[in-house]
């Protein structure tokens, strides 16, 4: 594990990382959490290119860079940048990379971060490319699972809600399949896990099953990963109305859960988790969000050779 070298490595897709590499990154994040914010990146500049809106991902990346002593240059508004004038993404990246040491980006097109990585000599960290990947979210999800369960392997994990469009659940299902977790996919029929994700996790010999209701599975679970049903994905709002409140976690649902059971959510939540759940020992979604900082510190430090 000590031979893993991340210097100049891009972080585009969770599929690019082996189990050992994932564990190495999580271990580094754990060290940052234990001893926060060493000034490792003084003199380094991160370009923050969010062509699509983001709150948590952007803030935590920018905060991580600054807490490690580095600085941030940022695309204030994609509407006023060169891309709005018709400049190709390849050209934009070629210019920006000259001004920085690492690029963090989010873009609505799938494969945009991979393209940036092909063009740039600096490490590119994907903050989300369309419906494809959001690897740093997956790292922080894994970090939170490891933190609460003290292990990643052979856990019983339910992924719940919009499994069709939610990119976080696609990447997480893949990553958990590397660790031999038992996966329960709980969704309305219309929002089932796509076939291409199922094919991938089958390749990793994952044990999984698909369900429409969570009740009977609850006592088996270690992790309940809830997701928002995304209104913006529905062309027909009548269809959205049918499924929007189909899974609401409340205290009644938590009656028979295991002691180590935890609820995670990539946030923002709308109605999926009742506020009463926030005060139970099972709620871990806010700590999960704050773990994004340590994971992003680890990724920035590692890719910048520190």
């Amino acid at each position: 594990m000590t031979n893993i070298n991340f210097k100049n490595r891009d972080v585009i897709s969770i599929r690019d990382f082996s189990k050992q590499e994932i564990l190495h990154i999580l271990d580094r994040a754990k060290k940052f959490k234990a001893k926060p914010n060493p000034k490792l990146l003084e003199g380094k500049i991160m370009a923050s290119l969010f062509f699509e809106p983001s709150t948590r991902t952007r803030f935590s990346f920018e905060s991580a860079m600054q807490r490690l002593g580095g600085s941030v240059i940022t695309l204030a508004d994609a509407k006023t940048s060169s891309s709005a004038k018709g400049e190709s993404l390849s050209d934009s990246i070629r210019i920006v990379e000259k001004y920085c040491d690492a690029i963090v980006m989010r873009h609505s097109l799938e494969g945009a971060a991979r393209l940036a990585a092909e063009v740039s000599n600096n490490p590119v960290l994907n903050g989300g490319d369309g419906a494809n990947q959001h690897p740093t979210q997956t790292f922080l999800d894994l970090f939170s699972i490891l933190e609460t369960q003290k292990k990643l392997s052979r856990l019983n994990v339910a992924l719940v809600g919009d499994l069709k469009y939610g990119r976080t659940v696609h990447s997480l299902a893949y990553a958990l399949s590397l660790f031999n977790c038992r996966l329960y996919f709980i969704s309305p029929e219309s929002l089932k896990m796509p076939g291409h994700v199922i094919d991938e996790i089958k390749e990793n010999k994952a044990n999984f099953s698909e369900h429409t209701q969570p009740e009977r599975i609850m006592p088996k679970l270690d992790i309940f990963y809830a997701t928002r049903i995304q209104k913006e994905r529905f062309a027909d709002l009548v269809e959205y109305e049918k499924v929007k409140d189909v899974y609401i976690i409340n205290n009644a649902l938590l009656k028979n859960v295991k002691k180590n059971f935890r609820i995670l959510h990539p946030l923002p939540r709308v109605n999926e988790i009742n506020y009463e759940v926030d005060d139970t020992p099972y709620a871990y979604y806010f700590q999960q969000a704050s773990n994004g900082l340590w994971v992003r510190e680890a990724l920035l430090a590692l890719t910048l050779g520190k």
Partner: protein
Amino acid sequence: MRAYKVYAIKDGTVIDHIPSGKGLEVINLLGIANDQDTVTLGMHFNSKRNKKKDVVKVEKRELTPEEVNRLAIVAPTATINIIRDFKVAKKIPIRIPNEINGIIKCGNPNCVTNHDPIVVTKFQLASEKPIKLYCFFCERTFDLDEITLS
């Protein structure tokens, strides 16, 4: 006596058993439309194997294995015969390459390769039977019928 719908060539390449209607795509894919070699295209011939087929004959030019492999995308069933002095000198089997760069378009409309004017598409062979191709950029896997030539 057999009536030749397309005359025999002395030297060159005969691409036979092209799926019916795909002959023009084969010509485009090989980029031979603008060459000065004589090219003959026959479409919708009767075929014992597939009922109908297209045939392309390229005179005075022997296709390379790399060119032949590209045909796997539009004409995986085609057979390639190298002709020397009116005789079949060599048959080249089609083998789909493990990586295909630039000649096909990603089937995902939201893939960056369908929006950026500079990027060259890159696909990896995910499965040979049936043929499935994995887009290096958007990470989706496509069946052959979801892919078009760029």
